[in-house]
Amino acid sequence: MLAQPVSRTPSISNMAPTMSAQSSARASPQPNSKRSNGIQHYASISNSGASATPTSGPANTTPSKPQRPARRIEVEALMNDFRRVLGDKWARYREVITNFLTGKLTRTELEEDLSQILEKSMVRMHNQFLLANLANSLRDPPPSTNGLPAWNTRRKDAPLRSRLSGDPVLARLKSEIMGFTPRERRRIKAITRESGKKGPIPSTIILTRQARMPTVPVINDKDKSKTSISQDIIQNYHLPLSSETFELPDADILRTRLLGIAYEHGLLDGISDEVPDIILAGLEYHLRDFLQQIFDRVRPTKHKKMSDVPFVSLIPPQQSAQLAGPQQLAIASGANEPNGVVSQVKDDKEAEPVTNGVTGKKRKRQRFEDENIITAEDMALVLELVPHSVVEPSGPMYRLFDVMLQDEIDDERPEPITE
């Protein structure tokens, strides 16, 4: 006796027509066709009805856009209207429906009860309500899982009003958002936490800057926190570098620096008193070893004081990049031979530039005397020969090889006339 099934959504309308047909059969004998038409009609109304968002629900032939899940039907408005209409009998109606849905009432019992509750005019609303719920159940679950509070409350004066209307802020917000076009709203909904972040920045400079910024350790254990940790770390970065002061660091500077570095790397207990001394001793040892390598390899080609062979200096002394280092240190480590090399610091007055107009010979002789200079080129040569004399290639080494070297100058080249 089923009405012609709605061709649109056969699964849904299979049940619905029977339900409505039977209930309506009790209520009033009406032709089934009209019933099914009514169903269709109401289904279409529900589409354009209370819910503002167009649903692609039963009105559509198939789930029209498979890539976009169908929207839920706004059941709450339906329910509230229905409830208003039902008035006092809402509680009983609710009870009956619940019992039926949970299996405590059979179909026939449901129809019996409903026939007592519902009047003829309410049938359609009832159909709508149930159909909408059924359709919703096949779609994605709602964002809020609170359920419909209106369904659950037992008080008669329970919020018949929409839940949003009680909260003015939310209501205003909702009205504003509903003012956007659907496309806007879709776009707004698509914004997640990751939006706007473009992924790793490919620039080396920015990445380097980020890597070089001082890292302050985060202390989770609250009773061990010290307020001065970030201070110490920043102080470390304010100290002058040895390449600026042209001196090896003394114990105080070294201690400040070590403290900052220790804090940065998570050693929150600081450093003890002997640490800077030991590190200073080790630093001197290492530097002396390295300088000794240089002297051993460069000296045989230079400083033949007794020989008259003019040897090619790599650069005229006044232009050479000179080793910056404490003089004592250099002297002491080169002290094994009396013809020791004097490595000059930048302010040494003995490397005064030769004035113009000096003849080539005299200049050569003076250069001969001043040849006891280790230049950056010698250092680069030694680093190529013995790369393990330093622990690993580092920034200053790269700078030496890339920036600081100058070309060799022949003896035969005419003297440049400088202004």
């Binding site: 040892y285 002290a335 094994n336 393990h388």
Partner: protein, 319 residues
């Protein structure tokens, strides 16, 4: 830095430095540094000797393990062997004659060439002298005992390398000779007492504690090992002192040359001038520099890595 009380061997070190050429009183810093160096060297020696013994499959350190560490320095090896043979002689003499060997303490620097010994002791002693066999020696590499080129006293004649090795020993003896030439009797007595300074003689227990031997090896090293360590520590102090003197002299040279260059010269000497150059004692920095010079790794240790750079793990060199 560290408190001075924890340095126990200052008098011994002072005596040893005196014997090795240092005429002034070294400051406490110097002796503390030397003591630290000696201790670390002892630890290093024990560690390496234990490793060597483990390679042999034995748990306890033998004499040969220790000698293996210094095998490249033939002079020292010879001196050590002579020293050990003196010990044997003394023991045998005591057994034989009831302890009548006079001069109860062995001289530390018992570096007299082996050929002299039998003349002093008399013929029947010389055959009791046992020479420590070195397993890595060329003569021991054959399954049959190789006959040495023997002199009449049964010792192998010196070959070229031995002569070179003896040269260092002789030089030391010579410098000692020059120093003691002008001494009075009291001074010489003082000198010979200082020569007997040892880290371990009659203080074996204290030495073991100081070196922390229990922490290094499982097995307790026997007394022979401790004696050898005593000998080697004396050698270390002597070598350090000699090197430090060289460093100091070079530095003083440099100072003088530089002062000459800048044309400041001490024109007159006054009565209350500060002491001259030769009055300056060895400072800690000289010792540090001397130690560094002795620790320079031989090129062969780094050549194997093909000079490609990277961190070369260096072993502490046993002086």
């Amino acid at each position: 830095m560290a408190n001075i009380e924890k340095y126990k061997y200052r008098p011994e070190i002072q005596q040893m430095m005196f014997v090795s050429g240092e005429t002034n009183d070294p400051p406490a810093e110097t002796t503390s540094l030397i003591e630290d160096i000696v201790r670390s060297q002892v630890i290093e020696m024990l560690l390496q000797a234990t490793a060597q013994a483990a390679r042999r499959g034995s748990r306890s350190i033998a004499i040969e393990d220790l000698i293996f560490l210094i095998r490249h320095d033939r002079a020292k090896v010879n001196r050590l062997r002579t020293y050990l043979s003196w010990k044997d002689v003394r023991k045998n003499a005591k057994d034989q004659e009831g302890g009548a060997v006079e001069g109860t303490e062995l001289l530390e620097d018992a570096a007299a060439p082996a050929a002299v010994v039998p003349d002093q002791l008399g013929p029947k002693m010389k055959y009791r002298k046992s020479k420590v066999k070195l397993p890595w020696d060329l003569t021991n590499m054959f399954p049959e005992p190789v006959p040495d080129a023997e002199d009449d006293d049964g010792n192998a004649g010196p070959d070229e390398e031995e002569m070179e090795a003896n040269l260092a020993t002789l030089q030391r003896l010579q410098s000692a000779d020059e120093r003691t030439r002008a001494m009075t009797k009291e001074e010489y007595v003082h000198w010979s007492e200082c020569r007997q300074a040892s880290f371990t003689f009659r203080k074996g227990k204290r030495f073991r504690e100081w070196a922390g031997i229990g922490a290094l090896t499982d097995s307790k090293p026997n007394d022979d090992i401790i004696d050898i360590l005593g000998f080697l520590t004396f050698e270390i102090v002597a070598v350090l002192t000699e090197e430090a003197i060289k460093v100091k002299e070079a530095e003083d040279d440099m100072e003088m040359r530089r002062s000459k260059r800048t044309k400041t010269r001490k024109t007159e000497r006054f009565l209350f001038d500060p002491p001259d150059e030769d009055q300056r004692p060895i400072l800690a920095k000289h010792v540090a520099e001397a130690f560094r010079n002795l620790q320079i790794a031989k090129p062969r240790q780094s050549v194997l890595r093909n000079f490609s750079g990277g961190l070369v793990r260096t072993r502490t060199v046993v002086i």
